[in-house]
């Protein structure tokens, strides 16, 4: 997509649908005035006029630039206002920003996704691309951890995903309906099932989950360069100027959000 003359001016977009996912999570389908070409793992700055702006990763496939899907947890002022929206409202979108996943780097390897909570939406964009390139990957395996069965997003998509990938789901706290594994996501990473030398691991989730997933992968003998992290920080500009998102000298918005662990491992505060 052509870089706009003024990078601060959003592309107007119409909210087409709002899909409740869980108690505090909704998906938003928006149609920008002009197609929004992106690669999976990139993000957009979503503007709610008069309210604010925040970065969110696209959850929809990159092959569909006309309508974008964002799955958003109610977490603060801006997301609370977003959750109150109804279809037809005007939003703005800037971007796409960030580097995204370099899927070609994973070709010929097994792809392992270690996903926690609302890390699922950006993982979904990656899964769309990975499944489209399934013949170039040895396998696709996703380990997903949610707090409880009620916190699992994209429930309707899980059966279809399982036709294409191995999808293991665990919950921290089970209820009567839950028949699957119980425990944090790292309990799904079993030594005899994962070959660290032929696998690329992609970790997306809350910081604490990403920390322990990375430590577990290292314990399984993964090389730091084979651990891919999608990082998150407070952001304003999205274009490598305002410096709010920095980890060490990296701009999460521009140099990331996708990093390999070997890039960040020397930085003392990456999991904060």
């Amino acid at each position: 997509m052509k870089t706009p003359a003024n990078p601060f001016r959003p592309i107007p977009a119409t909210l087409e649908a709002v899909i409740p996912e869980t108690d505090g999570i909704k998906s938003f389908i928006i149609r920008p005035e002009i197609p929004f070409d992106f690669i999976c793992g990139q993000f957009a700055e979503l503007t709610l006029p008069g309210v604010g702006e925040a970065p969110f990763a696209m959850a929809s496939p990159s092959t569909k630039p006309d309508t974008l899907k964002f799955t958003i947890q109610k977490a603060g002022y801006m997301t609370e206002k977003l959750h109150a929206l109804t279809p037809g409202e005007l939003l703005g979108v800037r971007g796409p920003y960030g580097n995204g996943f370099a899927i070609e780097n994973y070709f010929g390897k097994k792809l392992l996704l270690v996903i926690g909570g609302v890390g699922f939406p950006p993982a979904m964009a990656l899964l769309h691309t990975a499944i489209a390139n399934k013949d170039k990957l040895k396998s696709i395996h996703m380990c997903y951890g949610a707090r409880s069965p009620g916190d699992i997003v994209y429930k309707d998509a899980i059966a279809e995903l399982r036709e294409n990938i191995q999808l293991d789901i665990t919950v921290d706290n089970a209820d009567d309906t839950w028949e699957g594994p119980v425990g944090v996501v790292t309990t799904l990473l079993k030594k005899d099932e994962i070959d660290p030398h032929t696998t690329i691991a992609v970790v997306i989730g809350p910081p604490i989950m990403m920390k322990f997933a990375t430590l577990r992968l290292l314990e399984l003998d993964f090389k730091p360069k084979d651990i891919v992290l999608s990082m998150e920080r407070k952001m304003y500009c999205g274009i490598g100027q305002c410096r709010h998102c920095m980890i060490d000298h990296y701009f999460i918005c521009k140099d990331g959000p996708v990093f390999t662990y070997d890039q960040l491992q020397e930085s003392p505060d990456i999991w904060e």
């Binding site: 870089t3 003359a5 003024n6 990078p7 601060f8 001016r9 959003p10 107007p12 503007t47 709610l48 006029p49 008069g50 309210v51 604010g52 702006e53 925040a54 977490a75 603060g76 002022y77 801006m78 997301t79 703005g92 910081p207 998150e232 920080r233 407070k234 304003y236 500009c237 274009i239 490598g240 100027q241 305002c242 410096r243 709010h244 920095m246 980890i247 060490d248 000298h249 701009f251 521009k254 020397e266 003392p268 505060d269 904060e272």
Partner: protein
């Protein structure tokens, strides 16, 4: 040797009057013991002082306003600015701001103001105790990056041409341009040398490291950060007074159109890096305080191949808590820890 001339006072004033047809002359004006960049009326051209210390406000105030609507089309309402008497410490900060705002996503407002502005720098011969340009490999006079540079010699100026635009500024003033004679060149060198010596003498007790990347890693959790931030009131004055600090926030202001305001931010503010969920990588003041040092001496050099500090000393003068960056940097270098 670059192109340079000696211009006497009377000729210089007539040149300034010529420039003021096309440019708004923004020069250093005295208020008490301090100096501020202000638009100067033609009637006051003869009061402009060239060789004093840098102004209180950094040059970025004009090129990157403290609050600005960034979503509107840029409109030229005024004459472009001609900054007169810019000190080397401000001039060198511009190359950082240029890289930050002129990269992959060029900032239209900054770009327009920067391209339209003329920079006429001037040697500093009046350093303060807070000045430490020589400690960060800078000089109190500019060697490049200006359109014209001025060195005050007796009643006149040695004018050095630094750009095509600078050359154009002197066009039509041939009569005013005299060859620089030996005594003038020697006097310029002597004043420059003496100013360097004075800055060095002011800083004799501070011992900076050649580079800080590895020291910061070693002293990541040092009590030095806590000790030196004890009097910090998180006002952000050091950031706002700094010529290279350029962090900003964006704010949406109206419902009808996509209008965004950009304002200067400060990494000392507790909310600076707080995410929607309430998390922040730097919850403690000492960590936010540390961030400015990391940014200036580690991150900015990695991003833009240049130290983020030009030694202007504004952060020292601006600090309500009397925090002096030089003391901390020396203690880090010398391994002093309590």
């Amino acid at each position: 040797m670059s192109e340079r001339y000696y211009i006497g006072k009377a000729h210089w004033l007539s040149i300034l009057h010529g420039w003021s047809d096309k440019y708004q002359i923004v020069a250093s004006q005295a208020f008490g013991k301090e100096f501020f960049f202000m638009p100067v009326d033609e009637s006051k051209f003869n009061t402009i002082i060239y060789d004093q210390i840098r102004t209180v406000q950094p040059l970025k105030s004009f090129l990157l306003p403290a609050l600005e609507e960034v979503t509107k089309d840029q409109i030229d309402e005024h004459k472009p600015n001609l900054f007169l008497g810019v000190k080397a410490c401000d001039l060198h900060s511009l190359s950082i701001i240029d890289k930050a705002f002129g990269g992959d996503f060029s900032d239209p407002g900054y770009k327009q103001r920067r391209n339209n502005s003329v920079i006429v720098s001037a040697d500093c011969s009046d350093p303060r105790p807070s000045c430490f340009c020589t400690q960060v490999d800078e000089k109190p006079y500019a060697m490049s990056g200006f359109d014209l540079n001025l060195s005050k010699i007796w009643d006149g100026l040695i004018v050095e041409v630094g750009s095509k635009r600078g050359k154009q500024l002197l066009e039509g003033h041939d009569k005013a341009l005299k060859e620089v004679v030996k005594e003038e060149a020697e006097t310029q060198a002597k004043i420059r040398h003496e100013t360097v010596r004075r800055v060095q003498a002011n800083n004799i007790k501070y011992k900076f490291a050649d580079q800080y990347q590895s020291l910061f890693k070693e002293y990541w959790d040092s009590s030095l950060w806590v000790k030196h931030s004890e009097t910090c009131v998180e006002c952000g004055a050091c950031n706002h007074a700094c010529p290279t600090c350029h962090c900003y926030f964006l704010d949406d202001v109206t419902r009808k159109v996509f209008t965004k305001l950009r304002g200067w931010d400060s990494c000392h503010y507790a909310g600076y890096a707080v995410t929607a969920g309430g998390g922040t990588p730097r919850p403690r003041l000492s960590e936010r305080f540390r961030n400015r040092y990391l940014c200036k001496f580690s991150y900015l050099p990695a991003n833009y191949s240049q130290l983020g500090c030009t030694g202007c000393g504004r952060c020292i003068d601006a600090c309500q808590g009397k925090i002096d960056m030089r003391v901390l940097l020396s203690e880090l270098n010398q391994g002093v820890e309590e």
